[in-house]
């Protein structure tokens, strides 16, 4: 068995509105198991677009994407949802939590959706994750009672709940101050070190990028290095 978690072949994306424009140009990319990879590049070069394709949320592209050596291009909405649920953890720049649910429930939801464990086990795991992120004291708070950094930690706990193959982040520290950015980086770093977690993080922050295993630089829809 090879070690490649995520692979793209000639990944190409166009936007048609307002003008036909090629955003991604035949991108070939590989991420190995246990790697902590960051993507950097100027604003507007297509980093987010790439990440949305990789996360299977956007299916309008040319080329192929393989997740764990399985071709995911052309799968149905239902199958893709299943893959997102099981194999991909996503952390956004803005701390997207469900305001209707408390912190614990937010973390548990993808686990409940997956349905592989009992509710008690999922709750146990969720509390465990919150504890490693030092958020367990806030488990019963509502999201609007948390600070930005705290919300981002909850989002990371949520991304972890199904033990995903890979965690993707679109500028997860972009909206945080230095101190909170460091906390988030440390969490990611600890995940790769201790749990061999694969991470693919888009970032603006050179400090952040320099501390990762590998940096992918993008320009005008192409990968430079």
């Amino acid at each position: 068995m090879s070690n490649i978690v995520l692979e793209t072949k000639k990944l190409t994306k166009y936007f048609n509105d307002p003008l036909r424009m090629q955003v991604l140009k035949e991108i070939d990319l590989q991420v190995d198991h246990g790697e902590f990879v960051s993507i950097v590049g100027k604003s507007g070069c297509g980093k987010s677009t790439l990440l949305y394709l990789l996360s299977t949320m956007d299916t309008d592209y040319e080329g192929q994407i393989y997740l764990d050596e399985e071709l995911i291009t052309g799968k149905t909405d239902k199958e893709l949802a299943q893959m997102r649920n099981e194999s991909i953890g996503f952390v956004f720049q803005f701390h997207y939590l469900l305001n209707e649910f408390n912190v614990l429930r937010n973390v548990m939801l993808p686990g409940l959706k997956l349905g592989k464990l009992s509710e008690e086990e999922i709750e146990q795991n969720a509390i465990e994750h919150l504890r490693t992120l030092d958020m367990h004291e806030h488990a019963l708070k509502m999201p609007n009672q948390l600070s930005g950094g705290q919300k981002q930690r909850v989002a990371i706990a949520r991304a972890l709940i199904n033990k995903p193959l890979i965690i993707m982040g679109d500028e997860p520290t972009g909206n945080l101050d230095k101190k909170n950015s460091d906390i988030v980086f440390d969490i990611f770093n600890q995940l790769t070190k201790e749990h061999n977690q694969t991470l693919l993080i888009v970032t603006h922050d050179p400090d952040f990028a320099n501390r990762t295993h590998r940096i992918i630089t993008m320009e005008d829809g192409k990968i430079l290095s």
Partner: protein
């Protein structure tokens, strides 16, 4: 699909917009409650008016009409059989009003599967004497038990019971008659027949059909008393009243019996052509109003769900990003809508029942129906079944479109939009 999870998400979404949810539910409740109340009341009214007419009228009546013989002797004579004969001044032949062979006709009718029951009757004009005044009227000789079974006469008895007629020499008279002649239950009334027979009878009850023309002249006695009064034999019967299971068959049966038994017949539809229209129109109006109310409630749900989906775009995007499929999202909003529909609908049924009960105790006095003291209400469970079914269908449809819209929300667009 994990129903429990989807349901719990729907409930949480609802709780965060409790006020709108309640308003949407109240719309359904109001619609269903009004529908139930209206239909129950209208059908109660229909039953009452049906009772006024259907209950008192036989579906098919067999009798002998006074008319000339169809075959005049001259046509029977061998010599003139093939000529064209003009006969002037034909008089009706008195064949008597008695139906020939009535007993065997009744037997035969009772065998008929389509027939509910058959009641023999004697109708004769009489004079009621009280002191020096003489009032002309009608005496009906009836088979008390069958007549009560077919026409619920007890519902119209103001005093006494129709069963009391089984006593010898007893009579029930119309309210108008009793008022005019100042007679009450227990009094003796003298009766003269057209042939001059005289009888004294004891009044055991007073009946009020609700139509003054009838109440002023009518009286009831037993079949045997009527025969005795007329000095007629035991097989003397002037009318055979038939009630059938399916009233729509009445015209056809009337024709059939006319040929089969060689008597005159008349069916319910011919005697009461105007009546059915009213019933139909009342039902249509109540259903139409009920459905309109529900459609309005449906639009309320549609609007509120649309608004909710607009507000919850972020939540939908997160759900999709974390692995909920379009189908799951659709069901979240369908369930939301159905919960509103079921809760609103069930409450609507309860309120509908309460409103019906309130109408049921509002006093309603009418001379037409002495036994009716309050507004009539029909508590047919079918209305409740129709009501809740409509509620579910409306909310299902009202929820379907917003839910489909939600299922198609593109999470990338929302996430990028921030």
């Amino acid at each position: 699909m994990n129903f429990k999870l989807v349901f719990s998400i729907a409930v949480h979404l609802m709780r965060s917009r409790l006020k709108q949810t309640v308003i949407a539910g109240v719309g359904v409740t109001f619609g269903i409650a009004m529908f139930i109340t209206l239909v129950s009341f209208m059908y109660g009214m229909n039953d009452l008016l049906d009772g006024l007419i259907i209950n008192r009228t036989p579906h098919v009546r067999l009798y002998n009409e006074i008319k000339p013989s169809e075959n005049q002797p001259v046509n029977l004579a061998e010599k003139h059989k093939h000529d064209v004969n003009f006969i002037h001044s034909i008089k009706p032949k008195d064949r008597g009003k008695s139906i020939y062979n009535a007993k065997s006709i009744i037997q035969s009718l009772k065998q008929d599967q389509r027939v509910f029951d058959v009641a023999p009757k004697i109708t004769t004009p009489v004079f009621f004497n009280s002191g020096t005044i003489e009032i002309s009227g009608v005496a009906n000789g009836i088979d008390v038990l069958i007549e009560e079974k077919l026409f619920s006469l007890n519902d119209y008895m103001v005093e006494g019971k129709i069963e009391d007629l089984r006593q010898n020499n007893s009579i029930v008279i119309g309210k108008g008659l009793s008022d005019k002649m100042l007679l009450k239950t227990g009094d003796i009334i003298k009766i003269t027949t057209p042939r001059g027979n005289l009888a004294s009878m004891k009044i055991v009850g007073i009946i009020q059909i609700g139509i003054a023309d009838i109440d002023d002249i009518t009286s009831y006695t037993s079949l045997t008393m009527a025969q005795k009064l007329l000095g007629a034999p035991k097989n003397y019967i002037t009318d055979i009243q038939v009630k059938i299971h399916d009233i729509d068959l009445a015209p056809a049966l009337a024709k059939e019996y006319k040929n089969k038994y060689n008597v005159d017949t008349i069916d319910f539809q011919t005697t009461n052509s105007q009546f059915e229209t009213g019933t139909t129109i009342r039902s249509i109006i109540s259903y139409a109003v009920g459905i309109v109310l529900l459609i309005v409630a449906g639009f309320g749900i549609y609007n509120i769900l649309n608004m909710m989906i607009f507000e919850k775009m972020d939540s939908i995007a997160i759900l999709k990003a974390t692995g909920f499929s379009g189908n799951d999202v659709k069901w979240i909003f369908m369930i939301l809508s159905m919960v509103i529909g079921i809760c609103g609908g069930v409450l609507g049924l309860v309120f509908g029942f309460i409103f019906s009960n309130i109408i049921d105790v509002i006093p309603f006095n009418t001379a037409a129906l002495p036994t009716v003291k309050t507004f009539p209400v029909n508590y047919n469970p079918l209305f409740y079944i129709i009501g809740i079914t409509f509620a579910l269908i409306t909310t299902f449809i009202a929820g379907l479109f917003p839910a489909l819209k939600a299922s198609k929300v593109d999470p990338v667009e929302i996430i990028r939009g921030k």
